[in-house]
């Protein structure tokens, strides 16, 4: 049984204005594979996860996690009650 790996790839990709095609070419996969990862339908290998993290210049744990990610706005500004 495979563990669900959560990711915030779509958010980071949108924030950096990088298309799936551009990211896919940079890390050497088919552009559909980026979509599958974003939808949580495919867990990337460690090799691919590290390549994606390197592309964005982020630590891999900023993009992939075993726990669900908090919304970025919550992390930056905190959740107001």
């Amino acid at each position: 049984m495979s563990e669900q790996v959560h990711n915030r790839l779509a958010v980071v990709r949108a924030e950096r204005k990088v298309s799936r095609q551009a990211l896919a070419e940079a890390v050497g996969v088919h552009y559909q594979t980026i979509g599958y990862i974003e939808r949580g339908q495919y867990n990337p290998s460690l090799d691919l996860a590290l390549k994606v993290a390197r592309f964005f210049g982020l630590p891999v744990e900023a993009l992939f996690s075993l726990e669900p990610f908090q919304p970025l706005t919550d992390e930056v500004y905190g959740r107001k009650q």
Partner: protein, 174 residues
């Protein structure tokens, strides 16, 4: 890893998006698979009738089914982005995993099809009081065709719809 001109040609062919609308949705892919299964059944059935039957009239049916069958095969291969047609070195890690899953699932389905074919041929022989060998050749040819095509049908049925964007969503912004 070295790729050949053939690899690159096939990759471009399998990722040609001009016919993408034909297999863009789950419903369209299911329809294409259903039509392909039907055409395969008609074509193989007519071929068996031509070879083992009394006349050659059914050869026209084989000829008529061939062109749409080839076109639909291309549509299904396009929908999978060449999952089963491209060499492994042209597929990424997710596609290689998916190809293995498709082959495993198709293998299981074909196994049950073989079981059904054996039981069916035995039942036909018993009920129709006909020699079993009369049913063996058509059944074998039919199962062979199903075994050959099953991975393609399974792969096409497992394809997910494209997400909203494709390659140019941020092209203008960047």
């Amino acid at each position: 890893m070295t790729t050949t001109r053939y690899d690159r040609h096939m990759y471009a062919l399998m990722n040609d998006r001009r016919a993408a609308a034909v297999h863009a949705t789950t419903t369209r892919r299911r329809l294409a698979v259903t039509a392909h299964v039907a055409l395969t059944a008609v074509g193989v059935g007519a071929w068996i009738g031509t070879v083992f039957g009394p006349g050659w009239g059914l050869a026209l049916v084989v000829a008529g089914a061939l062109l749409p069958w080839v076109l639909l095969t291309g549509v299904l291969n396009g929908s999978t982005r060449g999952l089963l047609e491209l060499r492994g070195r042209m597929l990424d890690e997710r596609q290689l995993v998916e190809r293995d899953r498709v082959r495993a699932l198709a293998h299981r389905i074909t196994l049950w099809l073989l079981v059904a074919a054996v039981i069916g041929a035995g039942a036909y022989s018993a009920l129709a009081d006909a020699p079993l060998r009369a049913a063996v050749t058509p059944v074998l040819v039919g199962v062979l065709a199903a075994h050959w095509m099953m991975p393609l049908w399974v792969a096409a049925l497992r394809v997910q719809d494209e997400l909203g964007d494709t390659e140019d969503e941020f092209a203008e912004a960047s």
